[in-house]
């Protein structure tokens, strides 16, 4: 056996096997570390995906992503009124926390609303433009402002800064037609078919 080991070709083979094993080991450590990092990052992203992205700050944080980061660090999951029960359920699934009711300190569940500026009253102070987290308001200094309805998240943040109180929140008209359950139609059934 021994002389076989001493041959240069065998040594080369052994060396290459050792090198491959080392390389694999290093690679696996690298992959493990990056995967862990990626998972951590994706937890915040996954929590963020559950949040409604209205950026309203009712949870007490600056926006949805900061709140997602706080949840990942162990904050309560029931601080998001625009998301409602659906968000709490999906967050509970994701974080493995117990289902809890929405914390009323942060607001109540309400139908989706959008902000509308009464344009004839607007004095063009640009205060609402600064407050809007999604740049949904257009207008300039001393010029009338208006809100792009399709962009508005209904966050309510522009209402308070307005010095002339010309912004109001109105319920958004939903485009989709609600399916109304028909009362009798579904009953055409073999059981009830009139006797021949």
């Amino acid at each position: 056996m021994l002389p076989l080991i001493n041959q240069p070709f065998t040594q080369l083979v052994i060396a290459s096997i050792v090198a491959i094993i080392c390389l694999k080991f290093i690679c696996s450590i690298y992959i493990f570390l990056t995967a862990q990092k990626a998972q951590q990052k994706s937890l915040i992203d996954r929590i963020n995906a559950c949040l409604p992205q209205t950026q309203c700050g009712q949870c007490g944080y600056e926006g949805c992503r900061p709140y997602a980061r706080a949840i990942a660090d162990g904050d309560a999951i029931n601080k998001c009124p625009p998301g409602g029960n659906e968000t709490i359920i999906s967050l509970a699934h994701l974080t493995n926390e117990a289902l809890t009711k929405l914390n009323p300190a942060h607001g109540a569940i309400a139908p989706f609303k959008v902000a509308v500026i009464r344009e004839e009253e607007c004095i063009g102070c640009t205060k609402c433009i600064v407050a809007c987290p999604v740049d949904a308001i257009i207008g300039g200094p001393k010029l009338m402002h208006t809100i792009i309805e399709a962009e508005c998240t209904g966050c309510d943040l522009c209402v308070e800064p307005c010095p002339v109180d010309c912004i109001e929140m109105i319920e958004a008209g939903t485009e989709s037609v609600k399916w109304v359950l028909p009362s009798q139609v579904g009953r055409f059934s073999r059981l009830l078919e009139a006797p021949q």
Binding site: L51, Q55, P133, V177, G186, F188
Partner: protein, 528 residues
């Protein structure tokens, strides 16, 4: 890709194939087939909904008080999914206001109210008996102009469907005359009396869609219609295929399977596998639109049900109120318990009897307590599996039902809720009387809405991110500008602060002043 599909269809042998599942309900068709198709008298008022189908509404081009003639354009389609609307007869526009229409939503739609003058005066039409000389795209444009939609019930704009078919290459055109749902006889009556016109319409559709093959598919038990079609098809390349009679043979995906044996892939359209399906009634409307230039202003509709003394098929004007149609069929109000628009399985309850006839309303059933007894109470699912046997889409309705109740979106998608054609065969055989289709529809709606919400929140997130990026960039810009200003100011002060330079400058200034003084003195001397 699509030419592959065309080649595959060319290789196929077109013959009746087996269709999955299905039920055989009692047909209730004979009573309305006893008489010929009658032209419906013109009612005093027509109510024309601007939304005739599940698409966008058309926008009116007439004003209140206008006098209009038959076939005149009333409302124009502004995009592809809307339909042109034409005046079914002459008269005066009295109002444009919301009114109840038959439909799933039960919501009132904007309608044009036309007070008829019974003169039936027409505008001049351009007839095209020699359409073969025209290009298929010109014909397609004419079809779109005529406001024709799928008259079988779903009402998809025909021009849109044909255009999509031309784009994707079509190997086979199927004219769907199966009409598998109980009570409805509009297509059967149409074929019995207007077989040649339907065949002519099918030839026009074949020319437009450039399909090498065309087939008329019908159920085996419609013998009168088959007997009328055979002579009409003698000089034509169009084939007739008689499928076994069961519900839902007439579903678009089912009839493709019945004729070709192919299945439409999940989330795909028939056009994707090189097949185009049009209803027989649509073919008739296409014939009238091309040969006579008439836009779609009337349709053949079945009036049936036990409370009617003379059930029959009418060629009725679009917009005729349902109550008027029921009245002239001899409605016995004592027996009446309600009415359905559409067939007895997939139709929708008529809530307001003044609702007008739409382009998609193929049947109005007057309900009696005998034929439509009170709904029995829904009971628990006993997992008998009857529903899975009859499902034409080969789904597991009992599983879908369970997941629909537990609101499990992911599982519903896994189990193929999107493939459900809402035919109602499962609910028909259910021994526990569960209105399964209603659960599926509600779940489908919920999934659609939540997907919409997700998309919206993604969009908002991106908006927020760009907003924050903008704020950050503004801040940085401001800081860098301030820095630049500061540095610029700094260099200036440094330059002036060198003492020697200052001294030199002062000395230079003094020199300049001295020189100027000298000059001044010299000039004053000269003056003197």
């Amino acid at each position: 890709m699509s030419s592959e599909a065309v080649a595959r269809i060319a290789r196929l042998k077109l013959r009746p194939h087996r269709i999955f599942g299905g039920i055989k309900p009692r047909a209730y068709k004979s009573s309305s087939l006893r008489s010929r198709i009658l032209p419906c008298p013109i009612p005093d008022q027509l109510i024309l909904s601007l939304r005739q189908h599940q698409g966008e509404a058309a926008s009116p081009v007439v004003k209140v008080g206008d006098m209009v003639l038959k076939f005149q354009l009333l409302a124009e389609a502004e995009n592809d999914s809307a339909l042109n609307l034409h005046a079914p007869t002459s008269g005066k526009i009295t109002a444009i206001a919301p009114h109840a229409i038959p439909g799933q939503s039960g919501q009132p739609e904007l309608c044009v109210f036309l007070e008829t003058d019974k003169q039936d005066a027409e505008i001049e039409l351009t007839a095209l008996p020699d359409y073969r000389a025209m290009s298929h795209l010109e014909l397609l444009d004419l079809i779109s102009q005529a406001g024709i939609c799928g008259l079988g019930g779903a009402g998809f704009p025909s021009g849109l469907k044909l255009g999509d078919g031309i784009e994707k290459e079509i190997g086979l055109l199927i004219i769907n005359a199966a009409e598998c749902e109980p009570y409805i006889t509009a297509d059967e009556a149409l074929l019995r009396e207007f077989a040649e016109e339907v065949v002519s319409g099918a030839e026009i559709l074949q020319k437009i869609s450039l399909a090498p093959q065309c087939v008329i598919a019908i159920e085996k038990d419609k013998q009168d219609a088959i007997a009328a079609l055979k002579p009409a098809l003698r000089n034509s390349s169009i084939k007739l295929i008689a499928l076994s009679a069961k519900y839902p043979t007439g579903g678009e995906k089912q009839i493709i399977q019945g004729v070709t044996g192919l299945e439409v892939p999940t989330g795909g359209l028939p056009q994707d596998i090189g097949v185009l399906v049009h209803n027989a009634g649509t073919a008739f409307a296409v014939h009238k639109a091309i040969i006579f230039g008439e836009p779609c202003v009337s349709r053949i509709t079945t009036l049936t049900g036990a409370p009617l003394q003379t059930p029959k098929n009418f060629e009725a004007l679009i917009g005729t109120p349902a109550s008027y149609l029921l009245k002239i069929c001899g409605l016995d109000k004592k027996q009446l318990t309600g009415a359905i628009v559409g067939g007895s399985i997939m139709g929708v309850e008529l809530k307001n009897f003044d609702s007008p006839l739409l382009k998609t309303s193929n049947c109005i059933i007057a309900k009696s307590a005998k034929e439509f007894p009170q709904q029995a109470k829904e009971q628990a699912c006993i997992r008998c599996g009857y529903c899975a046997n009859v499902c034409p889409a080969q789904l597991l309705p009992q599983q879908l039902y369970a997941y629909s109740r537990s609101n499990d979106r992911l599982k519903l998608q896994d189990y193929g809720l999107a493939d459900c054609i809402e035919c109602g065969a499962c609910a028909y055989v259910c021994p526990s009387n569960i209105p399964l289709v209603q659960y599926y529809r509600a779940s489908k709606q919920e999934i659609k809405e939540s997907m919409l919400r997700e998309r919206q929140s993604e969009y908002w997130q991106s908006r927020f991110q760009t907003h924050q990026y903008r704020l950050k960039k503004n801040q940085e810009d401001k800081l860098s500008k301030r820095k630049k200003k500061k540095s610029a100011a700094g260099t200036k002060t440094e330059n002036t602060f060198s003492r020697e330079k200052a001294r030199a400058e002062i000395a230079a200034a003094v020199e300049r002043v001295k020189a100027r003084k000298k000059k001044l003195i010299a000039s004053t001397k000269l003056d003197k």
